[in-house]
């Protein structure tokens, strides 16, 4: 049964280095041909001064951070109290919210903190809202997100 006492529990921060090959790969895999994300000459002349990651590249550092939290020893304590398993095999991504504050660039080091915002049960399914707060190496907020996972009981 879902236990509200886990609300507010935090994990991480988890660090991700942004590589130019990775941001371009993300853009290509999603058919995002925005020149700011794939054309270095064009991007150099822009207000950003170089390539930026597509906004949804945020998936790479936020989802991986949430997945990393699944194996954090203190998450194992949470799971023991919840009564259902938290894993990729039993979970489905139900909803996603992102707020984008600052562009992410190759070379950035992104630190993401994961927080359990809410745990609840609807129609015999278990929901967890994971909040993510991501900052760059200067401590500037780049992205905030809420990833809702649905787990079978």
């Amino acid at each position: 049964m879902a236990e509200p006492k886990y609300k507010g529990k935090k994990f991480g921060p988890y660090e991700n280095i942004v590589e130019i090959d990775d941001t371009k790969k993300y853009a290509e895999a999603t058919d995002d041909l925005n020149l700011l994300c794939v054309d270095e000459e064009y991007a150099k002349k822009s207000k950003y001064g170089g390539i930026i990651a597509p906004p949804m590249y945020a998936v790479t550092y936020t989802v991986s951070s949430v997945m990393n939290s699944f194996t954090d020893p203190s998450m194992l304590e949470v799971v023991a109290g919840l009564g259902f398993e938290i894993s990729l095999q039993t979970g489905v991504h139900g909803e996603q919210k992102f707020e984008f504050f600052k562009p992410v660039k190759p070379g950035d080091k992104i630190s993401t903190e994961v927080e359990i915002l809410n745990v609840y049960t609807k129609r015999n399914l278990n929901f967890i809202d994971f909040g993510t707060t991501s900052k760059n190496q200067a401590g500037e907020l780049v992205t905030k997100g809420i990833l809702t996972m649905i787990f079978r009981g």
């Binding site: 999603t30 949804m56 989802v63 139900g94």
Partner: protein, 137 residues
Amino acid sequence: MEIKGKSIDKIEVGDEISASKVVPMDEGIRYAEASGDWNPLHLDDDFAQMAGYKGKITHGLYQMAFCATLFTDWVGDPGRLKRLECRFSGPLYPGETITIKAMVNKREEDVLSFDYEAENQDGVKTITKGEAEISLK
């Protein structure tokens, strides 16, 4: 991307922009490699069938990325995406056609707000409760 709808200077509350594309058959592996999301639902037909699907399903986040690209392509530089959210409501399979329809619900001086949904070629909703905010500068 071919986007249907009015341009930024002409669009008003209630107007719609939309775009469609066919999901490539290799979406699962391509998106997994790019995003790090290796959930077997998107890669393994047998696993997905055991979970009740016809076969491996397209990443919801791949669909959401298509929505993001619709907005960033439409607004162009120097506009930018400020907020994007949605619910993943139903499966979309590789080879199917996704169509996103986004309607302006608010226009402020520098920010446009949209509600959006996505559906497959049969009109089955794959994304609902979509909301986006775009900064025009």
